[in-house]
Subunit: 370 residues, 2 copies
């Protein structure tokens, strides 16, 4: 198979959990996969080599941020995002819709799109399906996301339907605006809030547009965990078998394990990187807040079972000192560890699916991790 054809290949299954491989123009992605977030053309605080060495096949970058600064056209003139930020592997860009709703000021929604003021300089900006798709093209995103409205939680069924239907009209316009290239892909985003019938309707509409992959959007927006799981499981049951399934913006290790069990293939989340910079480390027994007084003289690594750079070379006592002293090296070391932890978790899940003992492995993991 040519490396240049974008294709999802299912290698194994255990229950509903899928072990696969996505072939792209920028390399292959082993799934289930976790994508570290590199918002502004950098996975904050670490080198791309550290991201790769932790076992990352693909990263996510934010269209909203790069559109506002330094500008997608500037990045296009640099030869695209891969070259600009020194990351050769696949890159997925979101559509910018979510960030417009969570970060910008003075939003005004119309049928066309959304007008807003930049959170950086207050300048007036406009995003719609065509512009978002063009921005992602300029960035040379391996995987482009359709422009959508993230339905807030809570929302009535009427509100959720209105929002979903708008997103579906935007999905059609995004698909029309997308320029097909070998090894590249565009994913549609399922909306519909917490209403199964709306989700199903959304999936049907997206399937008609024949995207290269499908994402579950509008989750992890404040709904209770059981609702999140319910939506993820319902959606995956109705999504195509032969395309990647991506659960957007999720989440904790336990969310990832549960979602893989429903058949989700792809994840992104700021948790491992953002929490790292705040001094929280994900470990095989839960979460460690390294600033805690009890680690002041603790000469053990964050996680005895971890072979990452941080755990190989530094103690909790040292990491605590760095955070107490406000040294950015602390955030770097925890970021390296947390990404490694997430990628090791995904590797464990992939192996369990190959070995067809996913249920057993996932239950054991869920009894320990957060």
């Amino acid at each position: 198979m040519s490396e240049k054809v974008f294709k999802y290949e299912k290698l194994a299954q255990s229950g509903k959990a899928r072990r696969g491989r996505i072939h792209t123009a920028h390399g292959t992605i082993e799934t289930p996969v976790f994508m570290p977030v590199g918002t502004a053309a950098t996975v904050k605080a670490i080198k791309p080599e550290d991201v790769k060495d932790a076992g990352s096949d693909i990263i996510l970058a934010n269209t909203y941020h790069l559109f506002l600064r330094p500008g997608h056209e500037l990045i296009e003139r640099r030869g695209g995002l891969h070259k600009f930020m020194n990351w050769e592997g696949p890159i997925l860009t979101d559509s910018g819709g979510y960030q417009v709703f969570s970060l910008s000021h003075m939003r005004k929604m119309t049928e066309d799109g959304v007008t807003f003021r930049s959170h950086i300089d207050g300048s007036k900006q406009h995003l719609n399906a065509e512009i978002s798709t063009q921005i992602q093209h300029s960035l040379d995103a391996t995987i482009t996301m359709a422009f959508d409205e993230c339905t807030p939680y809570p929302a009535t069924e009427r509100q959720a339907r209105k929002s979903m239907e708008l997103s579906m009209r935007w999905a059609k316009r995004s698909r029309d605006a997308y320029k097909h290239r070998d090894g590249y892909a565009q994913f549609g985003i399922v909306q519909g809030g917490v209403y199964p019938e709306l989700r199903k309707e959304s999936i049907e509409k997206l399937k008609e547009l024949d995207f290269e992959g499908y994402a579950i959007g509008g989750v992890s927006v404040g709904e209770p965990e059981d609702k999140l799981c319910g939506i993820a499981e319902y959606c995956t049951d109705h999504m195509p078998e032969d395309k990647p399934r991506y659960l957007m913006g999720v989440g904790y290790p336990s969310d990832l394990i549960n979602s893989v069990s429903y058949g989700v293939d792809m994840f992104d989340c700021v948790l491992p990187t953002r929490n790292a910079r705040n001094g929280s480390a994900f470990v095989s027994t839960g979460v460690i807040r390294v600033k805690n007084e009890k680690y002041a003289e603790d000469d053990t690594p964050l996680d005895e079972n971890c072979d990452c750079y941080t755990c190989t070379n530094y103690t909790k006592a040292y990491l605590r000192h760095l955070f107490k002293a406000g040294e950015s090296f602390g955030g770097m070391l925890l970021t390296i560890h947390n990404i490694h932890f997430y990628q090791q978790l995904m590797a464990t899940l992939r192996q369990a699916i190959e070995d067809d003992n996913f249920e057993e492995v996932s239950q054991e993991l869920l009894s320990r991790v957060r």
Copy 2:
């Protein structure tokens, strides 16, 4: 020669410039040497491996900072600073005197030492020759500095004499408090302000104490550059031939080149690391402020002649973006470059001395660098 004997070995000379090697318990140091500053048990923003890969043989750590946080006894219980911070090579610690005078509040000087309030939590603290020497012992410093008062500039000859004589009494007490260990060293610090006779007297007093090395203190405290050069040249002319000579807290590349020409062997300065975090890069043609608008679409590296990690992989356009976006990765990349630049400069000077064409090489360098 045993690696465990602390010894300065002169390998070559060109004019007054010396090419040497210092043998220590933690490895050898090629001189003239630049020591990156690792104030709080980290060379800010980068990994120890990056420090080493840039060509650094030895780093400096600050006694004042580590005394206050996390505390030298805590570090001693961790097995010393090398193990704590994952740096196996030699470490030089300052005496804490300079920082007490530049950072702390409510200082009160007596014959014994100095009482002050911590800049971190306002707690009342006391440092003197014995305590400073003990702290550096607890840290397991390869090179311990004698406790001194940094004579301010300007100072009358009378003030400078009084200050120098106090520092010499403290030097004697520091020497008495120092515990000799194979491969370790203690350096005395020459004071005397801008007054040659006082400097000479200081050197004579220190030589009586037979330190393993000698430092020129009280420079780079606001005096004009010609005074700095004058002091450095005068002192080196009177310092022992068979011991390392260390010019404290200096400086710009041009200061280093000039001082090496007088026979100085060792340097430390926060400039390459601090300026990096502020967006200033030292390059073979001077200094680059990467935030400058003119680099927005500049696809060239910081320095075409540099083979550091940063220059190999990133453009000025990308670095400018990182600084404009407030991304700490920008500070990391400039720190890696600036330390590499300083170490390459030192390597060039060492080679020039070996080739006995130091005058020619240094003049060419001085015509370009800052």
